[in-house]
Symmetry: C2
Subunit: 365 residues, 2 copies
DNA sequence: CTGTTAGCGCTTTCAA
DNA sequence: TTGAAAGCGCTAACAG
């Protein structure tokens, strides 16, 4: 060892196989080796124009030889920027992605990330605590799904001074938020079934905390308001004999699970409104396996219009919502905040549309 | 303003609507207000046991009043931990998630994240540069997909001293890696078609850089070795008349796009081997739209066995690979490294299995 | 049980 | 064109 620089030493032994977690080479090592100040090294990397090209060259050269990479954490501490946005989810990551809806939403968010040079952090509860995860996240802002505006998480976000945008939440005016017309979507889907003559109808709904319709909030509340409106039009209500509400996990697996409970209802439903295509697809698949014909023996209408919904058998009748747009708009709103740009309207409501395919048919027809 | 503490001032004006990016309240503000040292404040949050409960109380109380949240970046700089792992993808996030394969993989990784209290950062190229993204990522380690071991990204990872695990790569012994038996999967799927009597077969393959089979590497190479083996068994080769290779995007959209090119081949193929279910599903869907019956007029075999593959019409014949396990095992390997745990074997090869469903049938039968 | 002190590795005025 | 020095906000020896 001729050199007294630990930096160089680690470079010499930088054989991939031998590689040890030795003294990490820092900006100081480079400065010393190149015979310049830390400032110069920093400039060489971030504003090469402010140095003579020779100096820049020399510094970059030394850096390359010693295998130097600036520490992004230290950089972040100075700049207060992480170049990442987060998406906070109240459940496990695996659960979240078990519904293709979430993948498509993330895809929409991802489009904006790429445009803006951001990475996307998926933030699930940390050892059971979503709050802890929110405190710890190294992000410049985030999108919040599946939570209400009064959730503690939102308080922490505000406390941390992190810009955020909510999706599918009843947020107050000053909170940025992207929603869809849940009322209309729900109303139309049930109306569709009622007009086809169905009167024994089960609603396959997300899991809520309480399980009681009266306490539903947010998306769930709006959709049930829509169902009520449709029922009322037909002279029915949620309490009518023949109308049932079953909660299940919002995934294909949830649909599979709820199928049996569905079939034990009295009277047995001739149609199902699912609050998500994933649930609907699970129900249809299970019906198949049990030899029950959809739509002849059971009509099923979904909600979302996933990419695969038109490809399952039978192609799914459903309420289309612009999932990718939802993610994209939310991310745009968020990045406006992060970048300090002004955004005109911070409350967005996207339209929905009933798409009639083959999974529903006239009762007895 | 009676108080001279800017911290308190910001607390007083902490009305959500009025909220400004004023002086962020730091550990110093809390220490001052509570009449203790920074150390004490730090302890109150991280090792409350080392303080008298009164002191802890008081500190936490002040913190609450002033709306203090520890700065996770500063914390990371000390601890050198971020509590996040990354998954590096060479394309846009939206592209990645357009293939359900990726969602399922991420789901597998996510299971481990939840167990270990980690968030998951999806890292796409930053303004076109995956290298820049790799330099900037605030992570403790990462999983690398769709890249070869000699990629620059891997060099940077090593330079940054970040543990990493590759998926689907021809990695040297000392690089942790999770693969499947691509050769066998490919061989069996094509063999299946050949045994059904098909001789005019198109391969619908991922996009490679070169487009030339001879230059394929990694997964692509192994699979084509498998195809060669199957063909040889039937006295054919990749050059035989009737055998074609078309590249397309690895997504449903890719399958839709490749359909037309497929139908223009001479002789027109009676069967297709797709390198991914997403592609297969896109092809089948388009065939439907064009009134072509699958499998009667065109047999299609996929690769992956996605959750939806059994639910499309007709249910897809495909090669099952344990996607979630792949993600889980990779994440386990990675976290062993991150936590400094020893892992016995750092090269894992998962098995595959041909699953015959309804999208293939005997030629002319 | 509590405080002093020295960093973590980088950015960024400000002065030379 | 370059460098000195003061932080960024927190953790963790170490000393008392």
């Amino acid at each position: 060892m001729l050199s007294k620089s630990p930096g160089q030493e680690s470079a010499v032994t930088a054989d991939p196989a031998t590689e040890q977690a030795q003294h990490r080479v820092t900006i100081n090592d480079i400065a010393r080796q190149a015979g310049v100040s830390k400032t110069a090294v920093s400039f060489a990397f971030n504003m090469p124009g402010r140095l003579s090209s020779e100096t820049t060259e020399r510094i970059l050269d030394v850096a390359r030889r010693l295998g130097y990479a600036p520490n992004p954490i230290a950089r972040s501490l100075n700049t207060s920027r992480t170049n990442a946005i987060g998406i906070i989810v109240p459940q496990d990551i695996a659960d979240a992605f078990s519904n293709p809806f979430f993948s498509q939403l993330v895809g929409g968010i991802g489009q904006v990330c790429s445009d803006e040079g951001m990475s996307l952090m998926v933030i699930p509860p940390m050892r059971g605590s979503l709050l802890d995860a929110t405190y710890a996240a190294l992000i410049d802002g985030c999108i919040v799904t599946g939570l209400e505006p009064r959730d503690e998480v939102v308080r922490v976000l505000r406390q941390r001074n992190l810009p955020f945008v909510m999706i599918d939440a009843d947020a107050p005016e000053y909170v940025a938020c992207v929603n869809i017309n849940d009322f209309e979507g729900a109303r139309q889907s049930l109306q569709h079934l009622l007009r086809l003559g169905h009167r024994d109808i089960a609603i396959a709904s997300f899991e809520s905390f309480s399980g009681k319709v009266e306490t539903y909030t947010g998306t769930l509340k709006h959709r049930f308001d829509g169902y009520r409106a449709a029922l009322k039009e037909a002279g029915l209500s949620l309490q009518s004999r023949g109308i049932h509400n079953l909660e299940c996990k919002c995934s294909i697996a949830g649909g599979i699970e709820v199928y049996n409970r569905l079939m034990q209802l009295v009277p047995r439903p001739t149609a199902v409104v699912a609050l998500s295509d994933a649930i609907a697809i699970g129900i249809i698949e299970t019906a198949h396996q049990h030899g029950l014909n959809v739509p002849a023996q059971l009509s099923v209408v979904g909600f979302d219009d996933l990419e695969v919904s038109k490809m399952v058998r039978p192609p799914l009748t459903t309420v289309r919502q612009p999932i990718k747009d939802k993610g994209r708009r939310a991310a745009e709103l968020l990045l406006d905040s992060v970048r300090g740009r002004f955004s005109l309207s911070r409350h967005i409501v996207l339209p929905v549309e009933l798409v009639v395919r083959k999974s529903t048919q006239r009762l007895g027809g």
